[in-house]
Symmetry: C2
Subunit: 322 residues, 2 copies
């Protein structure tokens, strides 16, 4: 069997099975947005790594600065989703030999800017020669042991919430693909997503959140991930999804649904909250309640009241993006 016949999640599950684990590992390979280690003391150490490539991850119109920004943001977003305070990022860069030094420096500036605006820093890395520009960031941070939010804690009856707007990055992707002109606001959601570090920390502090992850792989796929790990299902209301008016103007019907539910790219947080704690969560950061945790199944209630199944579709490597 070839690697390409498996989804990324299936492949990671196959690899994870072969890895022995020590006692101090709280969450290991394939289990959550970050690996979580008990290193003694009050805090857990969290680590996450992400490999990005020029062809598949950096749209051609991305500037060097945006490539650097994105390579850091994608890792910080994983830390954010566990409520962690970032300590730093290391970045391994595979660089085509004929790349202009100025372009590499632009990338470095973008890395630095994203780290700095998220209250952290680039503390090291590696450079290597590679045919295709390849950026592999690893971010690590700390979270108080009592405040770690896992994917696995969602309970039936919890509210489902998101930060910010969703579907903006997806709309930008569709627009770029179809060569429709779009605003800078929409483009920026795709090309310079802002990791929700502060929101993640505040939500962890609130003690109101039962499960959390980021939706960079898309809302549907992320709901399936939480549902699978928590052993629950979800019902989402299309009418409640926070979508920018400009996105609603740009896309209609199935295409809008695709952008909002089945496309990745938004670095927002998806989380569940016990109904009696929703006010606590609201005090932590702006949020929108988009649905509720149900016993099983994944459903979206359309504007006209019809219940549709929400498939586990979204951003996956080794598969054509849907």
């Amino acid at each position: 069997m070839k690697a390409s016949e498996l989804t990324e999640r299936e492949l990671i599950a196959r690899i994870a099975k072969l890895l022995a684990r020590q006692e101090n590992t709280i969450l290991g390979a394939g289990e959550d947005d970050c690996a979580v280690l008990d290193i003694g003391g009050e805090d857990y150490l969290l680590i996450t790594t992400d490999m990005l490539h020029r062809k598949t991850d950096f749209p051609l119109r991305m500037t060097g600065r945006q490539i650097g920004w994105m390579s850091v943001a994608v890792n910080l977003s994983d830390l954010a989703s566990k409520g962690a305070r970032p300590l730093g990022v290391v970045m391994a860069m595979g660089i085509p030999p004929d790349t202009e030094l100025g372009f590499i420096e632009e990338i470095a500036r973008g890395m630095d800017e994203c780290a700095e605006k998220s209250g952290t820093q680039i503390i090291g890395g590696d450079t290597d020669s590679n045919d295709e520009l390849t950026m592999v960031g690893t971010a690590f941070g700390l979270v108080n042991k009592d405040l770690l939010i896992r994917r696995s804690g969602a309970e039936i009856g919890d509210f489902v919430c998101v930060t910010g707007n969703i579907g903006t990055a997806g709309a930008a992707l569709i627009a770029l693909d179809k060569e429709i002109p779009v605003s800078q606001e929409i483009l920026k959601a795709l090309l310079e997503p802002f990791p929700r570090i502060n929101e993640g920390m505040a939500l962890a502090e609130s003690g109101a959140v039962t499960s959390m992850m980021d939706i960079s792989d898309g809302l549907a796929l992320s709901l399936h991930d939480i549902g699978k790990t928590s052993g629950v299902g979800f019902k989402i209301y299309e009418s409640r999804l926070p979508v920018l008016p400009a996105v609603k103007k740009l896309l209609k019907g199935g295409e809008l649904l695709k952008a909002v539910v089945y496309t990745g790219g938004d670095f927002e947080l998806l989380f569940t909250v016990a109904p009696d704690k929703i006010e606590k969560a609201r005090k932590a950061c702006p949020l929108t309640v988009i649905g509720e945790v149900v016993e099983e199944g994944f459903f979206i209630e359309k504007a006209d009241g019809r219940l549709e199944e929400m498939k586990a579709q979204g951003y996956e490597h080794f598969e054509k993006q849907v």
Copy 2:
């Protein structure tokens, strides 16, 4: 200017200049084998990352298991050189889509084996599709704040020491290149180098070591790195270099010198020790004194007493290997 016109060290220095640093960073980008962070408590957190590619880093005869082993070992060796106790490794794998799943599983087993034999574990990672097999490991560990060994502590008069034998991996590389048959012992030094985690921790504990790094980039380049950071020079005695008899039999003259001094691949530790503490260091682990720290310059005293300059040549990306 193109990236290829700079050495890896020059490129990293250019990038590091653009990165802001927070107060808790003890050692940052380009300064040492690992980045070192103060996270409170008694220990520093150390992090290191390394990008390896099929074409440039994995000789064609390498098995999947050896590729996995090497990808972990190269990072653990950096932790070893700072005397750190490893906590874990994350591995981002860029995999050509037509790769057999069995081969990927073999790689994962090799990763796991190297981590386990070094007293640590693979705790997470990422997979992505890539034209060329690309392995990016990130290792992290802890070291007591009083025991951290930097590159910068070498003092004039210190003894220069190495663990194990050197030149074995270099000999294997030359032999493979020239299609000369070699023993498994020599081949293994190149294809399955064993990171000196235990030796590194014992040397740190001994309190005898003033500076340390690994010699995976070659003895000469590593001496230049320590010399530059510590503001000192080195005099090495060719006759004292610990070289396997089989390597001396295989290579002669300039080729032997090239393997032992100017080629990377050995994952041994290079370190300096104050003369009055050499017995303490010897109790920590087997070592060979190969020279001494001098005020300036980099010299090798040949067997016949001639003093030769030791150039900063060894393993560098973006340059043809010398």
